[in-house]
Symmetry: none
């Protein structure tokens, strides 16, 4: 379904929609044959399932294991194969950096290079945030353009930063300069294609020139005396989420990448030093009165899955469940709980398995699901949808979609 079609049906009303994404929620049966969601005691989620309608979504398509970027892009209603956002843009979008259409972004790793021209430390001794920020600002003061092209720098975290080329028509198909192993010299940035376009060739020249300039600027640094560039990525703006759906949208997330993807979509990102789940829910309580759509991202279900820590995943789910009544008390017209993808503890990685999905709100056609977990969702009324189809369902349950045709 084209976004323009969906957008053409949108009507405004006073309803509120809360979308909770428990990152990596989907699971495979672990100890005692249960998934984390099945093993967790979740009386409040189960009540939502009983009052609502359940099912599954495939983040991208059956069989496809998504990264967090494509998975969220899809949940927000965009075709994740059409709107691809690489790590270079995604990481940087998590900061306050403002991208412009056509920006070519690269991730910077500050590194230590020896007088022999070999990489001694690929992370510059894992310098702290303050130190990373200082050397990034040093680069920003010294290098404002290369070969007439504007260059912007943004510190991300510790030894990580980003470089952005602006205002030139460049291509992103470039190889990383990181040799991946210490004791080796850095690689030149080269176009990935066998027969590169002039735009890719120019981008490679700019990147190599940047590396050389940075080396001169940082020559007297004890640790971060070199930059490696990787993850070259062209910024293509997403159609604005607030304009598409004619509402105010806000995001509450503890991790920069998820703030980033919400910001790229045009949501207002609630910037606080929040870290606990309880603090996130408190922000939802504070922000919902001044927004129509609220995206709440919970990270630690995924972290536990990546660690293969079944007990921890159960614990995060139970912790969230105890907070569910506070979300229900806000009386949003639509409350949706799902994940962005599965991260089975047994696999310790993202996976392709469909993700449990629950929608509770006005005009739901209730189904037989009496609990919220993989087995119960199998008989759910939503069946198995694509993540990118979710937005239409949320809008519909919020009464925000007009009839199509006469």
């Amino acid at each position: 379904m084209e976004l323009s079609f969906l957008s053409s049906l949108v009507v405004e009303n006073a309803s509120k929609v809360v979308l909770v994404v428990l990152d990596g929620l989907g699971d495979l049966p672990g100890p005692e044959g249960k998934t984390a969601l099945e093993a967790a005691a979740t009386p409040n989620l189960d009540r939502l399932a009983e009052e609502g309608v359940c099912g599954f979504h495939d983040p991208v398509a059956p069989g496809i294991t998504p990264g967090s970027g494509p998975a969220h892009i899809a949940l927000f209603g965009y075709d994740p194969l059409r709107f691809t956002i690489g790590r270079g843009v995604l990481d940087t979008a998590g900061t306050a950096f403002e991208f412009a259409a056509g920006d070519l972004a690269a991730r910077i790793n500050f590194a230590t290079i020896g007088p022999d021209g070999r990489i001694r430390d690929r992370r510059a001794g894992r310098i702290a945030d303050a130190e990373g920020l200082r050397v990034t600002e040093r680069l920003a003061r010294a290098i404002r353009d290369i070969d007439g092209v504007r260059v912007l720098f943004q510190h991300v975290k510790e030894y990580r930063a980003a470089a952005v080329f602006r205002g030139a028509e460049l291509e992103a198909g470039l190889k990383d300069s990181d040799p991946q192993k210490e004791g080796l010299p850095p690689l030149p940035v080269e176009p990935a294609a066998a027969e590169p376009s002039p735009r890719a060739l120019r981008a490679a020249r700019l990147a190599n020139a940047l590396i050389e300039r940075a080396r001169t600027v940082l020559a007297d640094e004890p640790a971060a005396n070199f930059v490696m560039l990787r993850g070259f990525d062209l910024y293509v703006p997403l159609p604005n989420f607030c304009e598409l759906y004619r509402w105010r949208a806000a995001a509450v997330a503890a991790y920069p990448m998820y703030k980033g993807v919400a910001r790229l979509a045009g949501m207002r990102v609630v910037e606080e030093g929040q870290s606990t789940l309880e603090q996130e829910v408190a922000l939802v309580e504070r922000e919902l009165p001044r927004t129509d759509f609220l995206f709440l991202h919970v990270k630690k279900t995924d972290s536990a899955g990546e660690d293969g820590n079944f007990a921890a995943k159960v614990k995060v789910i139970e912790e969230f469940d105890r907070l569910v009544p506070r979300l229900v008390a806000l009386r949003p017209e639509v409350l949706c709980v799902t994940g962005d993808h599965s991260t089975p503890c047994a696999m310790r990685s993202h996976s392709f398995h469909p993700v449990p999905l629950l929608i509770r709100g006005q005009n739901v056609r209730r189904d037989a699901a009496r609990a919220f977990h993989e087995s119960a969702c199998l008989g759910g009324g939503l069946g198995r949808i694509r993540a990118s189809e979710l937005m239409a369902l949320l809008l519909a349950h919020a009464g925000r979609l007009a009839k199509f045709g006469a």
Copy 2:
């Protein structure tokens, strides 16, 4: 999902995938309200269902009854609406004939024409294979080109053969010359379009010239003294299955058409005089060590359905079930059992009904299905997918797909 996208995610590993297609497997309830799959005693398939994940596929789309060509094209991961292969190419692909891109193929029916110019026998007295081969070779020796365009002949079976025009830019939208009824004169080959392209007009002229030349060559034949052309079809090569998925693929099938579609996809076709199901399974045992993906085609479920012979369909399913332990003993990482379409005994024809599907292998999210048949698959974890989505699932369960995006 574009094939190029899926292909871009493929990684190689040592896993093995076996895809069993029980032709026309899906059914409607027959005697005692059960489908053939429900009535059959299938303890081994049921165990696979219990250990695996079940569901349905629509071969092309809900409501669409597919021929064997599109159904297999879709199971192999191609969009059956984009990659259309007509009967002319499909029949001939089942022989050893090697197509080249741009070939225009037509099916030949040898016929008997009277001195009055009317068709006396549309099948030339159903001449046997040896006789069909002899007259085909006679044509091949006498007619090597027409109007500067190369012509190739291939015997298929009994009174059926194929003619292929090579090296000219022709179009396939041509009407058959078969009048469909004996006692009528043959029809001229004409473009199907009201305003035909020059390429279609030229193809029609070539086809009519071929018919005339063949009439002269075969004038002294007692039975096969005429050819009728039908099923004009342009050969468009499929993207190579082995290159797309970066593995070795082989096909075991008893019937030429299924060998043909596998060959068109670029699979290695195991050429043996196999005929029984047991012999086919023995070939799987022999070939799996030297292949990564093995397609096993079982024809007789469909034949029984086409005959409306419920008992025979049950018997074939039970015969296959007894061989399942031999497939399991090969320990493929992924074992998938399904059909290419439904052939309900009650309808005696292909139908549009969704086809039962089962995947057993590593990282399956087991579901509640404890048997393999239409009713049990309804609650299955795979839900209802398109056949063309199956390959991504098989690759995913085989650990052969990398994560998409960051």
